[in-house]
């Protein structure tokens, strides 16, 4: 890619972000509709991995979009909309968990999940297809047994393909913390799989 095409794509990205910012400031239903279409799966996946409870993830999914309507004017287009959206979803999740059980933020997210298995809503998963594969089983069990704070890191990095810097914005921690959390998440996963 040449420098001019890079500059052009950066300008297009910038333009897209300002269109979204203007649309959100106006509470434009068309813009909101398009955003829901574009980000529905990403947001739902994130919430599902974070909460490990489909019913709660669905509630928080709706609440997140309503919050986007209310706080739309605060989006200035400096970060990507996806990053901003996931940060809102994360805050709502933490608020919800805090109401349920008052505790510190880290304690909430680092708690061991009771039934952390992620329910998949659509069709047979690759996991179903390779259910006889002993490693796939171990991976699934390993992920399910991870604390939410580690599942969050893994899903943002390896499912949503987010750069580390963007993860830092979503989670609201320094880049070095993101790296160490990711490292711990991968290590914990590998360790659990090894044990199983």
């Amino acid at each position: 890619m040449t420098a001019s095409s890079l500059a052009m794509s950066a300008a297009l990205l910038e333009d897209e972000r300002s269109v979204i910012a203007r649309g959100l400031a106006r509470r434009d239903p068309e813009v909101l509709d398009q955003l829901i279409t574009e980000y529905q799966h990403r947001l739902y996946r994130y919430l599902l991995h974070l909460t490990a409870e489909p019913a709660l993830a669905e509630d928080l999914f709706q609440e997140t979009w309503l919050r986007v309507v209310d706080r739309g004017r605060q989006y200035d287009g400096r970060s990507s909309f996806g990053t901003w959206l996931l940060a809102i979803a994360r805050h709502l999740t933490i608020d919800h968990l805090r109401r349920r059980r008052p505790a510190s933020l880290d304690a909430l997210l680092e708690e061991e999940p009771g039934s952390g298995r992620i329910a998949v809503e659509t069709g047979p998963t690759p996991f179903d297809l390779v259910v006889n594969d002993e490693r796939a089983q171990r991976v699934d069990q390993g992920i399910a047994a991870l604390p939410a704070i580690h599942r969050e890191m893994l899903v943002l990095r390896f499912r949503e393909e987010m750069p580390l810097a963007e993860i830092a914005v979503v989670v609201g921690v320094p880049l070095s913390t993101v790296k160490s959390r990711l490292y711990r998440a991968l290590a914990a996963l590998a360790e659990r799989m090894e044990r199983s």
């Binding site: 239903p29 509709d33 829901i36 599902l48 309507v69 996991f127 171990r138 991976v139 991968l186 799989m193």
Partner: protein
């Protein structure tokens, strides 16, 4: 390179660091160790499998949830716009009330000064009269309300129901 040369934990650390940054493992020492050590090989395979599983997990938002969310968002937008309109109207009405009060104050002051000068009275009388002009109607209205209430009128008893 013999597997005993490099501790397993170091190899695992290097593998994790490379995976985290999505960079290929260009580490001859670690690669050689992996070839020789079944335990580490299995560890690397597990990490790769975990990453692959995350990438291939087809979790999608249920269509019914998306449809419900769209409907709620539209309703919320309408409600939020109405709230915005109400807020704007309140601000406008307050601004109008302030402007009217300021104009009234100015007009009353000018009138009082003119009347005092027309009647040939000392100028100090005007500055005494202005507050009276402002507070007299309000005081009279207050007394009237009290009087009506004590008389048990419709105005003093919430629609005339005792």
């Amino acid at each position: 390179m013999n597997r005993k040369d490099v501790p397993s934990t170091h190899v695992r650390d290097r593998v994790l660091a490379a995976r985290l940054e999505e960079t290929p493992l260009r580490d001859a020492e670690a690669e050689a160790h992996q070839r020789d050590c079944a335990e580490c090989r299995r560890f690397v395979e597990d990490v790769e499998a975990a990453v692959q599983l995350f990438r291939s997990h087809p979790v999608a938002a249920p269509p019914a949830l998306t449809a419900l969310t769209r409907r709620r968002v539209r309703e919320h937008v309408v409600a939020a716009r109405e709230e915005d309109d109400r807020r704007r109207a309140t601000v406008l009405a307050s601004a109008l009330a302030c402007a009217t009060s300021a104009a009234m104050l100015l007009a009353t002051t000018r009138c009082a000064v003119w009347l005092v000068s027309w009647a040939g009275l000392p100028a100090g009388v005007a500055w005494t009269a202005i507050p009276v002009l402002w507070f007299l109607p309000a005081t009279l209205a207050g007394f009237a309300a009290l009087a009506l209430k004590s008389a048990g009128s419709a105005l003093g008893t919430r629609g005339g129901v005792e």
